[in-house]
Amino acid sequence: MLSYILKRLAQTVLVLFGITLITFILLNVVPGDPVAMMLDKRADEATIEKVRHEMGLDVPLPEQYINFVKGAVRLDFGKSYFTKENVMDALVRSFKVTVKLAAMSFIFACVIGLTCGMIAAVYRGKWIDSLLMTLSMVGVSAPSFWIAIILQIVIGLKLDLLPISGFDGPLNYILPSIALGTRYAGSIARITRTSMLDVIKQDYIRTARSKGVKEFLVIMKHALKNAMIPIVTLVGTELGYMLTGSMLIEKVFAIPGIGKLAVDGMMNRDLPLLQGTVVYIALVFVIVNLVVDISYAFIDPRIRYGKGGE
């Protein structure tokens, strides 16, 4: 177990290093001098040189990269070109909002997905199974930002039940969470159904039934517990996607989360903000996946000894 965790940690360090390198190379080949853009065209050569020096842009690129990594290790990404705010402060502030959104979506996706998947498995082949599986297919195939707009139109405007933008109170959270969570609810429902059907065929389920265990208990205790491993892996990875892929929903509902920060950074060509955001989002994703993998290895010993340890 320990050697698996160590291996996985070493791999993560290498991956994180690669991510900073790719991000740095990508963003530093962007055409246009950020300093000249920031100062507009009013500034003279001397001022531009001065600012360039202050921002550490007058040293060769490899040295800039080393400074960037040194900063990133201390979670210091410098200051935004535009707002002059410390990038890390902006990241933490926005990430709190995104975590709230992702957590709500996660709960929504798990509750709806597990329930629908179990109902579909229990009533396999009945109309309710086809209905739920059709709905889940729609859920995974419809763009999340489009679902968000439909929710705004129907629930926000036509029925006038919930606010359609902002992120001030609990009522504001409901529509964005549903919009972000729908796709994941759909895929959780599908894998729950498949996994439950696999388990229901097993001998121990037949034994439990023939012992006279109530059907509800058979499903909840014997079947669901054993069907959980593939579901848990999927759910873990999806948490990573929800935390890092909320920019579309944030745009629709004008939510000041980390996705909006990334989009703002791109629109303003604000390199420190953009570099910080990309590395931060990637970091969150990698760490969530690391935690999921390691906990998965605790649940399923085959991972520790088998193919997962490669």
């Binding site: 791999q11 290498l14 991956v15 690669g18 991510i19 790719i22 991000t23 990508l26 963003l27 080949v29 962007v30 297919m137 729609v138 995974v140 195939s141 419809a142 763009p143 930002f145 489009w146 707009i149 439909i150 705004q152 139109i153 405007l157 796709r183 895929s187 599908r190 894998i191 999927l234 990573g240 996607y241 890092t244 892929g245 920019m247 579309l248 745009k251 629709v252 990334a262 989009v263 791109m266 629109m267 953009l274 955001t277 990309v278 989002i281 990637a282 994703f285 990698v286 996946n289 193919k307």
Partner: protein, 303 residues
């Protein structure tokens, strides 16, 4: 987004999905027979063919020029003259959706083509040579796989700029990883077969062995991967265009149409609804057809 592909990947890597021992002519014939029995998949195949026809014959089928502005008819609800209404420049929404099919399908297909070329090449090299080549390629694959998908695509689009060609590139760079992993896994298994030994023993070059003996035996994997990868690419394109990083106006793309419809959701809700339905139908059709194709090409996987 990746469930189907992931399940398929696991099957390929575990060796459950393999077809190299089967005699080929009858293998494809049998697969096609199995596919024909899958009614849902056949319906979706017809939908895909229709979409291709719509894309190819867009100029004939579209009732209006998608870019012609008509300021007398701005933001009209669906009428007989404009079946799906008009947008904020008076352009016909139906015609723009029809032209949008071209963008979505070509992005899906070309992005997958690029991903397949990169993925198959790197996967085959890693598996064939092993050793340090494998290590380097595998580590690079890991780094790319560790990037959250959307922010990575956004970053590339930011750097190389918007436009349809750049979307091919960004999505190709985003999605080659899965292909590389699967091809590597499959070639690792194929490498041990007698006919590969025989080819090597008779003096075939590495290039010959890879291109004539190994890659042809991965074709069915590639077909399924591409079919299931197209809807993903279409979804990414729509997302990027919605964020303003993809297809630029005035070119009609489903994602950017939804984005420009957003300010008018209370005045003309149908404007934002129709392009989304187009995306959904396309994605569902490719997903179900891809599933059917996978089951047909490997009956062992179906249960």
């Amino acid at each position: 987004m990746f469930n189907k592909q992931k399940k398929f990947e696991e099957a390929v890597l575990s060796g459950e999905y393999s077809n190299d021992d089967i005699e080929y002519s009858s293998y494809y014939k049998d697969s096609f027979k199995r596919l024909k029995k899958n009614r849902m998949a056949m319906v979706c195949a017809i939908v895909i063919i229709l979409l291709v026809i719509i894309a190819v014959f867009a100029p004939v089928l579209a009732p209006y020029d998608p870019d012609v502005q008509d300021y007398a008819n701005i933001l009209k609800s669906p009428t007989k003259a404009h079946l799906l209404g008009t947008d904020e420049y008076g352009r016909d929404i139906l015609s723009r959706i029809i032209y949008g099919t071209r963008v979505s399908l070509s992005v899906g297909l070309l992005a997958q083509a690029l991903a397949t070329v990169i993925g198959v090449t790197l996967g085959a090299l890693a598996a064939y040579y092993g050793g340090w080549v494998d290590t380097v390629i595998s580590r690079i694959t890991e780094i790319f796989a560790a990037f959250p998908d959307l922010i990575f695509a956004m970053g590339i689009m930011f750097v190389i700029g918007p436009g349809i060609k750049n979307i091919f590139i960004a999505l190709g760079l985003l999605t080659w990883v899965r292909t590389a992993r699967m091809i590597r896994g499959q070639i690792l298994q194929l490498k041990e077969k007698e006919y590969v030994e025989a080819a090597k023993a008779s003096g075939a070059t590495a290039f010959h062995t890879i291109t004539k003996h190994l890659i042809p035996n991965c074709i069915s994997t590639v077909i399924v991967l591409v079919t299931l990868g197209i809807p993903n690419a279409i979804m990414y394109e729509a997302s990027l265009s919605f964020l303003g990083l993809g297809i630029q106006p005035p070119t009609a793309s489903w994602g950017s149409m939804i984005s420009s419809a957003q300010p008018f959701i209370s005045y003309l809700p149908t404007y934002s609804i129709f392009p989304g339905i187009a995306i959904m139908i396309t994605v569902i059709a490719f997903n179900i057809f891809g599933d059917g194709l996978r089951d047909a090409l490997d009956p062992k996987m179906k249960n």
